[in-house]
Symmetry: C2
Subunit: 396 residues, 2 copies
């Protein structure tokens, strides 16, 4: 047997061809090359359409814009870029200065620009949200509106490996499971409420997709270096150094301490996130199947007259009654995910639903036949009636 390397790397035929063809064109920087590899790997469209790029003007988003621009000018991509910049109204005049500056750079590069402005502080107060959440929501609403206005299917943001590591640690300290610790997804539907695992390839979704082309490989320091290499300035946001924000304290204090244990800890955290995303995707798929099995039996039972008319009317179509026996026989991790999905469908969302509520519903599965109830926040509840659990809206 001839000697071979420890790991035989396989490059798919399509990728190899693309690689050879592209090497024949204008050379691009290492940063832009890595961006293009990630882009192809994810099967994101690279030709003949508009994409929206979120640009705050910081090092990360300037690097993303510059690298996409480089790939366009080297004819690797034939996309049209729409630069979207939102002024959150949190920094008075300097917000407007940043907006003008981003617009200037973008136009000089030859791209379309959309500037938006939202009074985030007022919005947060009104919605009783924290500033970070309100800013995030305003930003994603703005991106979605811009994408729809310009007929774009993709919105690209510049989250890096460092952002991912920070997200993982923030969620870890709250005691999250695999779904939370999976961190940000490299791609997700932009309309959805948050980062959810999705096994679907890009083409399967007709909605606007949020993509994060730097998330899985680029360190923040690389984005800064690349901006310098290109001789382009970037803006620094004072909020990035404001230690009143937990994320800033993670960046300034916690991650440096962890780097004393493992200099590659940011990469390690991102790897963990990727593994847990895969786990969550597999378990969510199983949970959906379990719900289907528990419900299919229900349809028969309804016809068979086992349910009272009240139960039939109380049952929300989105969350039909489920058979206790089917749920009880499933693996605990799958069952709890299924119950969570079911509660989300019945209530319309999962706001204020915590693990404790899922466990309370799960306990209904264990007992005898007595009518028992698990109350949920917001006036909903789950009732056990004989061999079924029912999702109920509270009678007012």
């Amino acid at each position: 047997m001839q000697s071979t390397p420890a790991c035989l790397l396989h490059i798919g035929r399509t990728q190899l061809q693309l690689f050879i063809v592209s090497e024949m064109r204008t050379r691009v920087s290492e940063f832009a090359r890595r961006l293009s590899v990630e882009w192809w790997r994810r099967d994101w469209p690279s030709a003949a359409e508009r994409i929206v790029v979120g640009v705050s003007g910081g090092g990360d988003s300037m690097a993303l814009l510059l690298a996409l621009d480089e790939l366009l000018k080297a004819r690797r991509f034939t996309l049209k870029i729409v630069v979207a910049h939102l002024d959150h109204g949190l920094r008075g005049r300097s917000g407007a200065v940043d907006a003008e500056w981003v617009a200037g750079v973008a136009r000089e590069l030859g791209h379309e620009v959309v500037l938006g402005s939202v009074p985030v502080k007022e919005r947060a107060a009104f919605a009783r949200d924290n500033i970070e959440q309100a800013a995030r929501r305003a930003r994603y609403e703005f991106f979605t509106a811009t994408a729809k206005e310009y007929g774009a299917r993709l919105v690209a943001t510049a989250h890096t490996l460092d952002d991912q590591a920070e997200t993982v640690l923030l969620r870890l300290m709250r005691g999250s499971g695999a779904d939370g610790l999976g961190g940000m997804r490299p791609a997700r539907p932009l309309d959805a409420g948050g980062d959810i695992p999705s096994g679907r390839p890009f083409e399967a979704s007709r909605d606007v997709q949020l993509v994060r082309p730097l998330l899985c490989w680029a360190r923040r320091v690389q984005t800064v270096d690349y901006c310098r290499e290109r001789g382009v300035q970037f803006r620094t946001d004072a909020m990035n150094d404001d230690e009143r924000y937990a994320r800033v304290r993670v960046r300034h204090n916690l991650l440096p301490l962890m780097e004393a244990f493992n200099p590659q800890v940011v990469e390690a955290l991102a790897r963990t996130a990727e593994l847990l995303q895969d786990d969550a995707a597999a378990l969510d798929g199983l949970a959906a199947r379990l719900l289907n099995e528990a419900r299919d039996a229900t349809a028969t039972a309804g016809v068979g007259g086992l349910m009272t008319p009240e139960a039939m009317s109380a049952a929300q179509p989105a969350a039909p009654p489920l058979r206790v026996g089917v749920l009880a026989a499933a693996a605990v991790a799958v069952r709890r995910r299924a119950l969570r999905q079911w509660l989300g469908r019945g209530r319309g969302d999962l706001r204020r639903i915590e693990m404790g509520h899922v466990l309370a519903v799960e306990r209904l599965l264990a007992g005898g036949r007595g009518g028992r109830i698990a109350e949920l926040p917001g006036g909903t509840s789950v009732e056990r009636r004989r061999a079924w659990i029912h999702f109920c809206l509270k009678k007012s």
Copy 2:
């Protein structure tokens, strides 16, 4: 609808009865009561047999010994305790002093004592192991031998919530997946190499079980408080303050910093570990089923003459050839776990097998039909031949 609390707690009938019966007996301390609740919840035997308790003499293990002793004397449990103490030979004379001291306390309480001594430093040098690993291995070998000698089915150690949080963080910083981040299991077979998820109830295993009755509820400070409450001294090991050990730095520096983000971070980390243990158990079960499916098809193929004689002989019975199509259709998280299990069976263990090797084997599934190989450490490899992958021992 009448008003009910937000979470209806369910107490199983058996537990309720036990609770009522036990309340009629001698009252025990809160610490001992919580230990007994955990013991019952886990279905560990509490009557008519010997169990081995690992006692270093520190606060945690003294608290475990004292609480078990309290439950015995209050007749909640009718176990016989064998106190096992190992001198690791790392602290010269003070190791022997500790051993005598532990033996003295244990005998005074009326329990049997087994003292052992192992030159861990010499062993570590010989096995090219680090001191912590060598000490851990020596300790578990000693516990196993003691359990077998005394006919005990259980060995109890005093790992706390704090130990669990430290373990989770140490593994997180190495980039572990759900299996590693699941941390220590509350119960596992002692003969196995490490903490592995096991959905089996205690009775299903005939081996000696390692159980950790404090792991899921007791903070370190509670063990110290309980020792004080009982008026019993405990020893402090200088190694517990030696910052050359990563675990000590996690305890002294990292966890206190994280507590500034969330004062309950230790509990949060332990909750994460429990959630990920459940996930890992569900996914491992699915992976075992996948291997079975991929292999069942193989048996038919062998009979049908699709395999060459060389392939048949190269196939290890523990890791028979697997059908590519079956593996490729599975969810990625399940497939990778299945491949890992398969490699472990073929090689006898998973030493030096990293995620990169699993990914190299996974890549064999994607390509065409050409004969391709993924080399593994220690002279083994996996070969793709047509629609099959084969586990091979290298010809020397």
